[in-house]
Structure formats: structure tokens, C-alpha cells
């Protein structure tokens, strides 16, 4: 059952991502990305991380994607234009091809790396199988909260400053000039 769920969610995530990258209309891209995030949330649930799943939906799909949506609608972005003639060199069809090749390269590399690491054997740091007894401590929100506010309290506080800065920055940057 879990396996099946995994493959379904995985498939949705990959296909949605591919379409985000692949198709032209930015509005559709945003929507598809929300779908992808949803699939990922499902995967998190499968990984005994309900808190993360919910956070994913609330923050990513709920806040960030909505922000994207606002911007897309504000700017009234049309379908993607063809490349302006004036720019040559690294950009343009040759650039695209290079980019595509690079991504392919990266992907192949990672897949190779991962399989090399994991399929080879088990290690303590990277055990290939999920032990059932770990499900309980991992999924507990209390545990997350405890760790967050004790061990990583400093990072937590700094993050709040970061959000403040980002907020101010966003307001300043997007202001209309008079």
C-alpha cells in the first residue's frame, strides 16, 4: 500500500514539475506547482512527518504560491515571447542546448551518485531501510518543538529577523517611484 502510494505521489510530483518547466503559460505553471507541492506533502506523510506535510501545504502552497499568483496576475504576464534578436552568444538556442546538456549531466551525475551510495550497501549514517521504531519519535510534533526551541533556538530567532528584513526589502523594492 505504501509503495503504491509512493509511486503515485512520485509520479504526480515529477510530471507536474516537468510541466511547470515545460509549458508556456505562467498561470498554469503556478497551478501545476501547487499540485506538485501537494504530492510532496503526501510523500512527507508517508515518511512519518505530518508536521512537515502540513507546514508544506500552509506555507508553500498556501502562502508562497499565492504570492506568485498575485504577481502573475498583477503583471499580466503574457505567453512567453520569442527571444529578442539583438542578443547573441551564450544566450539563444545554443545557450539552451548547453543548458539542457548541463541539466542532463547534473541529473545523471546525481542519480549515479545516489545509487552508488545507497545501493551499494548499508551504512550507519545512511541506512537504506526505514526502521519502523523510528516512526514514533520522528513524527512527534512535541519532539520537533523541543528541538526547535532548545538546540536550534538561535537559528529560529535569526530566521525571524530574516523574515523582517525580507519584508522590509520587498516593500522597498516594489515601491513605485515618484
Amino acid at each position: 500500500m505504501d509503495t503504491f502510494a509512493f509511486y503515485v505521489f512520485a509520479a504526480i510530483a515529477v510530471i507536474a514539475s516537468l510541466l511547470v518547466v515545460g509549458q508556456r503559460n505562467p498561470m498554469y505553471s503556478v497551478m501545476l506547482l501547487i499540485t506538485s507541492f501537494g504530492a510532496l506533502a503526501g510523500l512527507y506523510v508517508l515518511l512519518d512527518a505530518p508536521f512537515t506535510a502540513v507546514t508544506q501545504i500552509i506555507i508553500y502552497a498556501g502562502a508562497i504560491m499565492v504570492l506568485f499568483l498575485f504577481v502573475v496576475m498583477l503583471l499580466n504576464v503574457p505567453r512567453e515571447e520569442p527571444l529578442p534578436r539583438a542578443i547573441a552568444g551564450m544566450i539563444g538556442p545554443s545557450g539552451m542546448r548547453i543548458g539542457a546538456v548541463l541539466s542532463l549531466l547534473l541529473g545523471v551525475e546525481m542519480l549515479w551518485a545516489i545509487s552508488h551510495l545507497t545501493l551499494g550497501g548499508q551504512s550507519d549514517l545512511l541506512p537504506n531501510d526505514f526502521r519502523p521504531e523510528y516512526a514514533e519519535p520522528v513524527s512527534s510534533v512535541a519532539n520537533i518543538g523541543r528541538a526547535l526551541f532548545t538546540e536550534h533556538a538561535f537559528a529560529f530567532e535569526v530566521t525571524s529577523v530574516l523574515i523582517l528584513v525580507a519584508m522590509v526589502g520587498a516593500v522597498v523594492l516594489a515601491r513605485k517611484e515618484h
Binding site: I64, V71, V72, V77, P84, S103, I114, I144, L162
Partner: protein, 100 residues
């Protein structure tokens, strides 16, 4: 249960897709979206490995990544808006003032 390697492969795949999107798309917003994909792939990796190791550290990191992603998205979009106001276009190729 699906072994860890599957999750890792999946996240690698998603990361590659995101990378491809950063290069290949000619719309700034879509580029930002691709970046979000990449970040999510990374999140998946963290959670999966955290689950495998039996610690909550993976999820904690994910928490922070999401926060930063939010901040970054906000500022990034603000910049996109400013750029759009300036040039009326969202193609990254239009902004080449720093060209030699």
C-alpha cells in the same frame, strides 16, 4: 516500505528538473518557480534521511528552508516587479546592462 534510495532518486530527479527550468525558461517568474522546485527536492532529501536516521533534525532543517524560501520568494518577486516596471518585459535576456 520503499527504501531510502528511492526517495533520494526522486529528489535528485526533481532537482534536475528544477535546474533545467532555471536555464531553459525565458520568463523570470517561471525561473523563480523552478528554484522553488529545487528547494523542495532538497527538503524531501532532508526529511527522508532524517527519517532513516531516526532524528528530527531533518524536519527542523526543512522548516528553516521553507522560511528562507518564503523570504527569498518575496524579495525575488519584488525585484521582478521592479524590473517589469522598468522594462515591460520579463525575459531574463532583456536585462544585460552588466554586459562587458
Amino acid at each position: 516500505m520503499v527504501p531510502l534510495s528511492h526517495y533520494l532518486l526522486l529528489s535528485g530527479l526533481l532537482f534536475s528538473i528544477g535546474t533545467a527550468g532555471v536555464f531553459l525558461r525565458r520568463n523570470l517568474i517561471t525561473v523563480l518557480l523552478s528554484i522553488e522546485i529545487m528547494l523542495n527536492a532538497v527538503n524531501l532529501t532532508f526529511v527522508a534521511v532524517g527519517r532513516a536516521q531516526g532524528t528530527v533534525d531533518g524536519q527542523i532543517i526543512t522548516f528553516f528552508v521553507m522560511t528562507v524560501a518564503a523570504a527569498e520568494a518575496a524579495v525575488g518577486l519584488a525585484i521582478v516587479i521592479a524590473l517589469f516596471r522598468h522594462r515591460e518585459t520579463l525575459s531574463p535576456d532583456a536585462f544585460t546592462s552588466l554586459k562587458w
